[in-house]
């Protein structure tokens, strides 16, 4: 229990640290939302100054930070200049879409990687292993940019999949089942891109971890007891190999989040990615900070989930060291 509590406090500190870091970095950079305005001859410089004052951009950094923290507590996450509304509601919708994509992709990736990796490790050196290793190497070499563009072209050419967006026209009028079908159809390509990007690394690590365990004496003993292959692999070997994989799980969430940014933009999926890019081009300060922070939140939450998994899976963590 103490372990989990410590990890939780750690996570909270991490979030604070990131928010401060981001704020610091963004304040170091010259220029802001109204900087572009100043170049416009039609707008008087006094107007710009007044606008900046209205949005509190002329206050010192700690003050701005404090005000922002207060607005986070309210759920506002600051104010967007472009959309002229609080950042919070704007971003939650997008975040939900991004989560939909990333969570599905994570589950699929691990759902595929575990059996592939285990099988590879079991048949180490033989044909299935070689084939899988080559396939994974091939995927690793092709950048996600190319995969995404390729699949987009495929969608456009074949017409089997929609080339973007979350829902088709007339979505509201569909029956619930059809709505689900429509959503799934839109989700398939982006998810496939994400899975293909993340798969090679995870498979490789699963294989490595399992290979290490399969040589262990306790497993040979179990095999000698006549335990069936499936049970042997998944109930005996995999839990022993779980530790490094659980840390990898946390890492994979971060990697998928980063990839999703690009994929969303290319495939026009209305998630945080396109919002962020737009905000950058418009120099919309609080949207950018909100986006960065939210994605960090997901990452930290994911890692905490991994810690929970570790706690549940590894009895050594649970044993209190000073309870002697």
């Amino acid at each position: 229990m103490r372990f989990l509590l410590r990890r939780l406090i750690h996570a909270i500190f991490l979030l604070f640290g990131v928010s401060i870091l981001t704020f610091l970095f963004t304040s170091l950079a010259p220029g802001d939302y109204f900087g572009e305005m100043r170049l416009n001859p039609h707008i008087a410089p006094e107007t710009v100054t007044a606008l900046r004052a209205q949005y509190q951009l002329n206050r010192p950094l700690p003050v701005r930070y404090w005000r922002w923290v207060k607005s986070v507590v309210h759920g506002d996450l600051g104010f967007s200049f472009s959309y002229n509304s609080p950042v919070g509601p704007l971003i939650w919708v997008r975040a939900r879409n991004t989560l939909l994509l990333t969570v599905t992709a994570t589950l699929l990736t691990w759902g595929l990687a575990l059996p592939l990796g285990v099988w590879s490790a079991e048949r180490r050196g033989r044909l299935p292993d070689t084939l899988i290793s080559w396939a994974m190497a091939g995927l690793l070499v092709v950048p996600d940019l190319l995969i995404a563009l390729g699949l987009l072209l495929f969608a456009a050419r074949s017409g089997w999949f929609p080339t973007g967006g979350l829902a088709s026209v007339g979505f509201e009028s569909l029956s619930p089942l059809d709505k689900l079908r429509d959503l799934a159809l839109h989700m398939i390509l982006p998810v496939v891109v994400l899975v293909l990007t993340a798969l090679p690394l995870v498979v490789r690590h699963v294989r490595a971890a399992m290979s290490g365990v399969l040589d262990a004496p306790f497993l040979r003993a179990a095999r000698g007891h006549g335990i069936r292959r499936y049970r042997l692999l998944y109930r005996y070997a995999l839990p022993a190999a779980a530790n490094p994989l659980i840390s990898l799980f946390g890492f994979s969430i971060g990697a998928l989040l980063s990839s999703s940014l690009l994929v969303e933009v290319i495939m026009s999926w209305p998630g945080m990615g396109p919002l962020l890019v737009e905000a950058i081009l418009a120099r919309d300060l609080y949207v950018v900070i909100g986006g960065v922070l939210l994605s960090t939140l997901f990452l930290v939450a994911g890692n905490f989930g991994a810690d929970l998994l570790l706690y549940w899976a590894d009895p050594r963590i649970r044993t209190e060291p000073d309870a002697k």
Partner: protein, 274 residues
Amino acid sequence: MQRTRMPSLIQVEHLVKRYSGRRVPGSREVMSALNDVSFSLAPGRTLALVGESGSGKSTLALCLAGLERPTSGRIWFGGRDIVALDEKELRTVRPQIQLVFQDPVSSLNPRFTALEILREPLIVQQSGGRRETTERALAMLESVGLSREMAGRGPGEFSGGQRQRLAIARALSLAPKLVILDEALSALDCSVQAQIANLLLDLQSSFALTYLFITHDLAMAAHLGDEIAVMDRGRVVEQGVPEKIFHTPEQEATRRLVAAIPGSSVTPRLPRAL
């Protein structure tokens, strides 16, 4: 038996070393490796320090060599208390107390050649130019029974016994007063152990060295040591000449060690040299 009162080369007084255990996450366990250790060593003699694993022997070796800082206590060497010295002063003292480690594989850098290994102490202490240091290194090589042609080889190309010879040669290159042998023979095969033991005895008389010989093997301790000190759980529990330790052990720990020697029920007085 009358013991002549000689000034001691090194005198350890109430040495304590505690580690705060950070191995277990979140706990602040404190482990005492050394719990009030006191002994003294006369020059030119060999003190064999015997104890089971975990008795604190290696920690003691590191503290004496100045590579670990004791928590409290005093170590008198050359008229000064080593524990009280700062890093810079310590660096001048360290060359006089040299350590030979147990594992000949890890104590020699595999990327160096034998010549580089032997020259290193001289280079670090800046005692001479290239030719001088090379010549001295080669001379050291020969004095431990290896030939000059081996100078260009890497440690990987030597056998275990040869590596220890190299380690000993390196330890001696700065003409130390005290050589601490931390289980230096334990990793070697039996026959090789005998050879290296004899080499050590020869070197001791040639170079007037003082040895602190640390081991868990009481029989070996008797072979090499003028005196034996028994350590148990961070303390010196018994000290005396080998005959006394064997025939009339006083402490429980000593008795255990004696009993562990194969054939110890028939323990003759072991001859000093073969």
